[in-house]
């Protein structure tokens, strides 16, 4: 599904969090949102998801600009947000429709791919932070959403698990050609996963740069070309750079 933002902004009680956000994503494109803390990345994702409807501007999903929640959209929140009264398996099947047995077979597949096999019957209070986040990832991926919004999905995980799950995300993407918007603080992650990286800056946040990453997948982690891009991104994130400081 295609996604298009046109002059999107959001103001909370007179205080503008983001403004003038325009970008579009082709079907199956992976877009990274990068920016310092508080510059409005989560706010943009909430607007795209339809959970927040009080934004300005237009967001169109497959040409449809109505402000509503599309059930083909999946959202991995910045926190796990598991339902505490359901165990791991029930949490993962929560968004699935159909026969109980089929749902569980599918869910178990994903529980295994996030490395939680054998923990199906633990309750959220018995999970570590990273385990809970992995359950949340499985819960979102299992529905094979056509648009996938991810808010720092891997930030609570160790380096190795993180890489595994990034590859899992790419697998899901390859199979279902989901359009993905990924918020992250990890530049290497953005370079590894995304077709384009959009960099936000300032308070209120605005788009500073839109960097195309043309390298073919599967990409090597930490190649020379990537290193050059990384330096470029780091520079544009540098808050001391005078260009768009608004204070």
């Amino acid at each position: 599904m295609s996604l298009e933002l046109h002059n999107v902004g959001r103001t909370f009680k007179g205080k503008t969090a983001v403004q003038n956000i325009s970008f579009s994503a082709k079907p199956g494109e992976i877009i990274g949102l990068l920016g310092t803390s508080g510059c409005g990345k989560s706010t943009i994702l909430r607007a795209i998801s339809g959970l927040d409807t009080d934004y300005d501007g237009d967001i169109s999903i497959n040409g449809n600009t109505s402000k509503e929640i599309h059930d083909t959209t999946g959202f991995i929140f910045q926190e796990p947000r598991l339902l505490p009264w359901l165990d791991v398996l029930e949490n993962v099947t929560f968004g699935l429709k159909g026969k109980k047995q089929e749902k569980e077979v599918l869910a178990k597949e994903y529980i295994e791919s996030v490395g939680l096999q054998g923990n199906e019957h633990l309750y959220p209070r018995e999970l570590s932070g990273g385990m809970a986040q992995r359950v949340a990832i499985a819960r979102a991926l299992v529905t094979s959403p056509e648009i996938l919004l991810l808010d720092e999905p891997f930030s609570a995980l160790d380096a190795f698990t993180k890489m595994q799950l990034q590859d899992l995300l790419l697998d899901v993407w390859k199979t279902y050609q989901s359009t993905i918007v990924l918020v992250t603080h990890d530049i290497d992650e953005a370079l590894y996963l995304c077709d384009r990286v959009i960099i936000l800056r300032g308070q209120p946040g605005e788009i500073d740069r839109d960097i195309l990453i043309e390298e073919k997948r599967p990409r090597a982690r930490g190649s020379e070309k990537m290193a050059a891009l990384k330096t470029e991104i780091l520079e544009s994130l540098d808050l001391n750079k005078p260009s768009s400081i608004t204070s």
């Binding site: 059930d71 339902l83 968004g95 309750y123």
Partner: protein, 283 residues
């Protein structure tokens, strides 16, 4: 888990296995520890009381010995009237509890879910809440006579408020973040209520039930004091009229026992249905 499975033979016959019995025995012992700890003080108190009564420190026409009270209860049990008293009182509390809880669930859910219902009902309910519930007694008697309906209505009024307030605050207190999860999965309003809001407000609802039940026991005393021919409250009045302190205290003790018992049942339900809750465990 694996242990338990291995203890089931292929034909479904349970084969006892030492490795499961041992931890279970240990758990049982653990389960009794709080009971033992909790009974230390009451036992000491009763012993001292008995001793002092025997020594004549307390005059028996004012504070009879525990043994005398115990014998009174045994006596009541023997002539069979005890079960009638307990039965009638428990029935009244139960009926009032069910009635009050039912109305509270309906009104509480409406007020919790719908803004219009909140604006319609809540101010009135809050105003009624500020009336001490016992003030209704004369009116209820006037309307319904001195029989069962007025008693049950009174108990229901007592039960209603804590249950209602807890349901409303439970529903309003559901974390917006998990409601959003439901919305992201395209749940409609009805599904949001049944799959997210109800389970999430369960803890608060159960707290309301327990305090409602406590008030139910309080109100049954009031209801039975104002005129009854049977029931533990009647036994109180009877003991007073007959100048039998042992009957009064026996009735108080019985109130304590069945009140505690009914609370214990609710607590067991609570523990079972809220096992997922992440609560502080004291060491």
């Amino acid at each position: 888990m694996a242990n338990q499975e291995s203890s089931y033979a292929a034909d479904g016959v349970v084969v006892p296995e030492k490795s499961i019995d041992r931890p279970r025995a240990k758990r049982n012992l653990k389960g009794w520890k709080p009971v033992l700890l909790g009974s230390i003080f009451p036992i000491i108190l009763i012993l001292v009381w008995e001793l002092l009564s025997k020594m004549g420190v307390f005059p028996p026409y004012q504070l009879p010995a525990p043994s005398v009270i115990f014998l009174t209860i045994v006596e009541l049990a023997k002539d069979g009237s005890l079960w009638g008293h307990i039965g009638v009182t428990t029935y009244r509390v139960f009926a009032g509890f069910v009635l009050g809880t039912g109305v509270a669930i309906v009104l509480g859910s409406l007020v919790g879910f719908f803004k219009n219902a909140e604006q319609l009902f809540d101010p009135m309910i809050q105003a009624f809440r500020s009336i001490p519930s016992l003030a209704w007694v004369p009116l209820f008697i006037l309307w319904m006579g001195i029989g069962e309906p007025s008693k049950i209505a009174m108990i229901a009024v007592g039960v209603f408020f804590p249950v209602y307030l807890n349901i409303v605050s439970g529903i309003l207190g559901v974390d917006r973040k998990i409601i959003e999860v439901g919305k992201m999965y395209g749940l409609n309003t009805f599904q949001l209520i049944t799959r997210i809001i109800l389970p999430a407000s369960m803890p608060s609802f159960l707290v309301g039930l327990r305090s409602g039940l406590g008030l139910g026991w309080m109100f049954v005393v009031a209801a039975e004091l104002m005129g009854a021919s049977q029931g533990l409250g009647f036994l109180l009045v009877y003991g007073q009229n007959m100048a039998q302190p042992e009957t009064i205290i026996a009735s108080i003790v019985l109130f304590a026992i069945i009140g505690k018992l009914s609370d214990w049942i609710l607590k067991a339900i609570e523990t079972k249905s809220l096992h997922w809750q992440d609560r502080l465990v004291k060491s």
